[in-house]
């Protein structure tokens, strides 16, 4: 950009025009003088200047009208216009600002004032342009990052998907051997196979979590509502924790006044409940786990309460973040991915359009509560074939 800038000066009086032009040229500005407002309009449109000094009173088209026309054209709408006028009336100045002018210079002109106002407006205009450019660059960079992030998530989803095929074989064959279909096992063989089986299933659930999270983060949170009885779903979720609860001597109770029928994504809701119940059993050594169901009309709240170790207040905000485990000694014990609650919250908000909250007193236990609408709409279909 020209360091001093080019200024279009429009004034129908030769003396005032000369005065302005000389003054600006002395200061090093490039100046395009015009006495005719129509020619000025053409000149500005064909080659937009950096700034326009515009007389108000002119024959044919006055300064306000010329200003409005320039503000309507895309190429000149951003060019700052300073009115030069003998008009002192406030309402005339207001008209000038309404027409799109940015400043006024009063005739008879004062050299210092003209130069100060011109350079101030030029500087403002340049700063605005550079800000605009910067914000466009930022928007483009941001878009690119979002696209890359989606790509990354889709990549992870499809790689993880491929990982499941060999894992299916490991789980199936260890299960077949454990069932002794192909012959009897001695104690140590059984123990070894059980370890393979457990590790395989653990790996499988980790991969499934990663696939779910990647799909959600890639913006593919499609919902498949089914109609089902909540009671059956809760029973199914409880079945997953019964063996472990029994081993630890924990009670498992359910409390509900009524059991609603839901039309929502059954699998996702089941997944959330299984995660919450799994956590409750994992972090409870004495007492038990209670599921409380309350029907609020439009929505249903399912709370999972335990009498476990609880969560300190400062840790509660970390709970729903990815890869957060609150304490290293828990990490050893928990053995999860650190994705469970992060995924659960994502599932609740993105698939089930509900929310999740937590209450807890350290040493006394925690309650996680899901509140989800009873009925949700389906979204566009997504199948395995859509994976890249």
């Amino acid at each position: 950009m020209d360091p001093k800038g080019e200024i279009l000066v429009v004034d129908d009086t030769p003396e005032s025009l000369k005065l302005l032009v000389d003054l600006l040229m002395d200061e090093g500005y490039r100046v395009r003088p015009t006495m005719d407002p129509k020619l000025a309009l053409e000149s500005a449109l064909s080659n937009p200047p950096e700034l326009i000094l515009l007389d108000v009173r002119m024959p044919g088209m006055d300064g306000f009208e010329l200003c409005q026309r320039l503000k309507q054209a895309t190429c000149t709408e951003q060019v700052p216009i300073i009115f030069v006028s003998a008009l002192q009336e406030l309402h005339e100045r207001v008209r000038g600002f309404e027409a799109g002018g940015v400043d006024f210079i009063t005739k008879p002109i004062q050299r210092e004032e003209v130069l100060a106002r011109v350079s101030a407006q030029l500087e403002l205009s340049r700063m605005r342009q550079s800000l605009e450019k910067r914000s466009q660059e930022l928007a483009a960079a941001n878009q690119k990052l979002q696209d890359l992030d989606k790509l990354k998530s889709m990549f992870i989803a499809s790689v993880s998907h491929e990982l499941r095929t060999p894992l299916n074989a490991i789980i199936s064959f260890s299960g077949i051997l454990l069932r002794e279909i192909l012959g009897g096992l001695n104690e140590r063989q059984r123990d070894s196979l059980e370890r393979i089986d457990r590790a395989g299933k653990h790996l499988f659930s980790l991969i499934t979590d990663v696939i779910d999270i990647s799909k959600i983060e890639a913006g593919r949170s499609d919902v498949y509502p089914e109609t089902f009885a909540l009671q059956e779903l809760v029973d199914e979720a409880l079945n997953t924790i019964h063996p472990q609860a029994e081993t630890k001597g924990l009670t498992v109770t359910v409390s509900a006044v009524t059991w609603p029928v839901l039309h929502t994504d059954r699998r996702r809701l089941l997944q959330c409940l299984v995660n919450l119940l799994g956590n409750a059993v994992k972090f409870t050594e004495k007492g038990g786990v209670t599921v409380l169901v309350s029907d609020t009309g439009e929505a249903v709240a399912v709370a999972v309460r335990d009498t476990g170790i609880g969560i300190a207040e400062g840790d509660r905000s970390k709970l729903f973040k990815a890869f957060e485990r609150l304490d290293s000694h828990l990490r050893v014990k928990a053995g999860g991915t650190g994705l469970g609650l992060y995924l659960t919250r994502k599932l609740v908000t993105d698939f089930l359009h509900g929310e999740i909250s937590v209450m807890s007193s350290p040493g006394e236990g925690s309650t996680f509560c899901l509140t989800v609408p009873k009925v949700i709409e389906s979204t566009t279909s997504f199948s395995e074939g859509d994976l890249p």
Binding site: T165, S172, F173, G175, F204, Y224
Partner: protein, 123 residues
């Protein structure tokens, strides 16, 4: 209900499923592709079909549609074998007329009873 046709392109899955089906008293016919599966269904008239939803030559849905469109195979029960967490596929299969689905990884302890439950539902 003694003969099962298994349409599955992954060899590991075919071997493991065949072991389980045979242990449950079924005779097993295997097909590696959708097209071969359809031909065997017509020729062998199995008592039911286990259909993997992801085949290399054609989508499981297409195989199901062909089976359902042909009078010779229309009445053979079809059980879809789906991947975990792909709810959309299961719904499309049920809508296209399969009798039920079982999920991978198959649970060796439960798979035979799962199959029997599905087959009993629609005689």
């Amino acid at each position: 209900m003694n003969t099962a046709l298994m349409i599955e392109d992954n060899e590991d899955n075919r071997v493991s499923m065949a072991i389980l089906l045979e242990s449950g008293g079924y005779q097993v016919i295997e097909a590696e592709t959708g097209d071969a599966g359809y031909q065997k269904a017509v020729a062998e008239q199995p008592d039911f079909i286990l259909l993997d939803i992801q085949l290399s030559d054609m989508n499981g849905i297409e195989v199901l549609k062909r089976l359902r469109a042909d009078t010779r195979t229309r009445r053979i029960p079809v059980i879809a074998v789906t991947s975990y967490a792909m709810s959309g596929d299961r719904q499309r299969f049920l809508a296209a007329g399969c009798n039920g689905y079982i999920e991978k990884p198959i649970d060796p302890l439960r798979v035979i009873s799962q199959i029997r439950t599905i087959l009993e539902k629609k005689p």
